[in-house]
């Protein structure tokens, strides 16, 4: 049901707002209203029966918009535009029906997508589920259950809960949830308890879920320490101590200070990410150049360099083959251009070197004739 309701709910209050006055002020009231009535009527004369005359463009504009939205399946947006149109033609039955039809259709679509989303979610297909929940919200933007599911699809749980049983100790619970009684301190850290307290049965404890990517690994400290020592040694041999201060280096600091190490770490991380961005954009040469400036032991740099070199070789070969095609089509300029590109990507490409030499020789000869 759409209501034309001047002033209601709007921040721009209608000038009609008034407070009732006492009966003994009747004359004043008469004068007051008479004044406003006549003042108002002069304005009203030419516009009361012809809203669309005053707003020459808006009704047609929003009608056009509404039809466009409808054709693109954007029902909610179409409905909104029809509502605006309706305000100019409040008695138009067709517009009213149209809005009602769209409202029903939009709701039905939202229901269908929501149900599909729930089905995907229950099967653990979260990408499909979230798409369906987004579509639900596109049709009905305040669909709370869809919003809840959508957030659950994207938010990994950080905590689980454990309800204390009769006779449970913290060590028992740590054994149950972490398979290690010595991790009881993790339970203490996230609950308002201490190790000396007896646990009350029925109390719900918050248990942090460390996840598979948790960096601290069991029984790995010793091995990691050894590896780190070797890596640090390699790192020191490979890196030169910067001669100029970089951000983070305080005056008087050496390469061994925390700040300097922080810079190396940042620098590797930044270059590594930049190299990966270049890879995503298929800018293999830039990626390789960036990777070569990162510590070879940093994450999967070694593997990335190897795969980038393969991509580069493939790209170079593709240009080489293009060069051959141009050469056979007797387009020497294009062929030379392609082989130059091969050598930019792969300077040691022997076939390209040879063919480029021949092509240039041939080009010279042709110029002479």
């Amino acid at each position: 049901m759409i209501v034309l309701s001047p002033g209601k709910g709007s921040k721009a209050e209608s000038p009609c707002g008034f407070k009732p006055l006492a009966a003994d002020h009747c004359c004043l009231i008469l004068m007051f209203f008479a004044f406003f009535f006549f003042a108002g009527c002069t304005v009203q004369q030419h516009s009361l029966d012809a809203d669309t005359d005053t707003f020459r463009n808006l009704p047609a504009k929003y009608q056009e918009k509404a039809l466009d939205y409808e054709s693109r399946g954007m029902l909610r947006e179409a409905m909104q535009s029809w509502l605006i149109v309706q305000s100019f033609y409040p008695d138009d039955i067709e517009t009213k029906d149209r809005i009602e039809r769209l409202e029903k259709k939009s709701q039905a679509k939202a229901d269908v997508h929501f149900q599909a989303g729930v089905n995907f979610y229950q099967k653990g297909l979260f990408a499909d589920a979230s798409r369906e929940f987004l579509l639900t919200l596109a049709y009905e933007q305040d669909h709370e259950p869809a919003l809840d599911y959508l957030k659950k699809s994207f938010f990994k749980p950080i905590f689980s809960t454990y309800v204390v049983q009769h006779g449970d100790t913290l060590k028992d619970i740590a054994e149950k949830v972490f398979h290690d009684p010595d991790k009881d301190f993790l339970i203490i850290a996230f609950n308002d308890i201490d190790s000396s307290m007896a646990l009350t049965p029925g109390t719900t404890l918050q248990i942090p879920l460390l996840g598979d990517d948790f960096p601290w690994k069991e029984k790995s400290v010793e091995v990691m320490t050894r590896n780190n020592a070797v890596q640090l040694d390699l790192h020191r041999k490979k890196r030169k101590v910067p001669t100029t201060a970089s951000p983070g280096t305080k005056p008087g600091e050496t390469a061994e200070t925390g700040s300097e190490k922080k810079n190396d770490e940042w620098s590797d991380l930044v270059k590594y990410r930049k190299a990966k961005e270049f890879l995503e954009h298929e800018e293999y040469l830039k990626s390789l150049q960036m990777l070569l400036s990162v510590d070879i032991n940093f994450r999967d740099v070694r593997e990335l360099i190897a795969s980038t070199e393969v991509y580069l070789q493939q790209e170079a070969d593709a240009h080489y083959r293009k060069g051959i095609s141009f050469f056979l089509a007797e387009d020497l300029d294009q062929a030379i251009g392609e082989w130059q590109e091969v050598l930019r990507l792969s300077p040691n490409h022997l076939a390209a070197q040879k063919d480029l030499r021949n092509a240039r020789r041939l080009q010279e000869k042709m110029k002479k004739y």
Binding site: I84, W216, K274
Partner: protein
């Protein structure tokens, strides 16, 4: 009284519709629209002040009418509130880029240091191309699907606490009236020649640069130190968060609600401590913009490197996407 009643009826009848000024529609969903013919001298801002009680909401009118300004005689619709919470439709949805800077200098540039000239050009680009720089609070209202944002909203953040923030970035931010967030790691705020001191940090905070957490020592949360036990690691993670929160709160007398992870690295334990300490969200440095359904504790941020040209900069201003809608 009879003539008065008649006049009263006529009066209200007369005033009920003043189409040359405005016209209001209300549906069951309580969406109100006011149709307006713009008068000489009126602007988006003055219309927003008149109809929405807030001159800063000119973007609501601009976005709805798909215009960047208005002129006398224009027929426009003023919605009492934005129509779409996240510009979500079958075709796509809004995403908000969060830009990350570290340090600034007059002329020297490297990956982590942006020159004054480049920063100025980047900020000007935002202004000239219709971007609205918003605060983290506004971003989180959007992420919680509570409040809409201008269609081209962007967040500016700066990490660490280097002197260049105060001497170079701050005057430029002020010039454009942009809010920004400074994530400080509290050990760095020591007033060294190259770093900020707490007086400067407080001045920045008062001047629209919201100061938030970046831990105490800038430890990489995903790197285990030599022979570090789990107990020691957990205790250090907790200390990094609680100590930096306590120090900022004490120095600036404010709540700390947001964190930028050092090196952008995090894990579940860190997030658990953030939740326990009342943090509303936290940021990685994973390049990309944020839709409203992003996890609040692993938000994307795009680092703006010193060697970026304008093309690189623009690539980081993605304000819409359809990725999650694609099969």
């Amino acid at each position: 009284m009879r003539p008065a009643v008649i006049l009263l009826v006529l009066f209200f009848q007369g005033c009920a519709v003043q189409p040359q000024v405005y016209k209001v529609v209300q549906s069951d969903d309580a969406y109100d629209f006011v149709a307006v013919i713009v008068k000489p001298g009126e602007t988006l801002s003055s219309l927003a002040e008149k109809y929405l009680d807030d001159p800063h909401k000119g973007w609501v009118i601009a976005d709805f009418n798909e215009v960047t300004s208005v002129a006398a005689g224009d027929e426009i619709i003023v919605p009492s509130e934005p129509f779409a919470k996240a510009y979500l439709s079958q075709q796509g949805y809004q995403t908000v880029p969060v830009l990350t800077y570290h340090n600034f200098s007059e002329t020297k540039e490297n990956l982590m240091m942006v020159t004054k000239d480049k920063f100025e050009r980047q900020m000007r680009y935002l202004k000239e191309n219709g971007y609205t720089v918003i605060s983290l609070n506004q971003l989180f209202d959007f992420l919680e699907y509570r409040k809409p944002l201008p269609r081209k909203a962007v967040v500016i953040t700066i990490d660490d606490g280097w002197q260049g923030v105060y001497t170079i970035a701050y005057p430029i931010l002020k010039k454009y009236g942009y809010p920004a967030t400074l994530f400080v790691y509290t050990d760095l705020i020591n007033g060294n020649r190259k770093t900020l001191n707490w007086e400067q940090v407080a001045e920045l905070d008062r001047g629209g640069v919201d100061v938030q957490g970046h831990t105490k020592t800038h430890r990489n949360f995903n790197k285990i130190k030599d022979a570090e036990s789990l107990r020691k690691y957990v205790s250090e993670v907790e200390n990094e968060i609680t100590e930096s929160t306590r120090i900022i709160k004490k120095k600036l007398n404010k709540d700390v609600k947001y964190l930028a992870y050092p090196y952008g690295e995090t894990n579940n334990l860190v997030i658990a401590f953030l939740k326990q300490n009342g943090y509303r969200g936290a940021f990685t440095v994973k390049r990309g913009s944020n839709p409203f359904f992003m996890n609040h504790y692993t938000l994307n941020r795009s680092m703006i490197y010193g060697d970026f040209d304008m093309h690189d900069f623009k690539r980081n201003l993605q304000v819409s996407s359809s990725k999650a809608l694609n099969r």
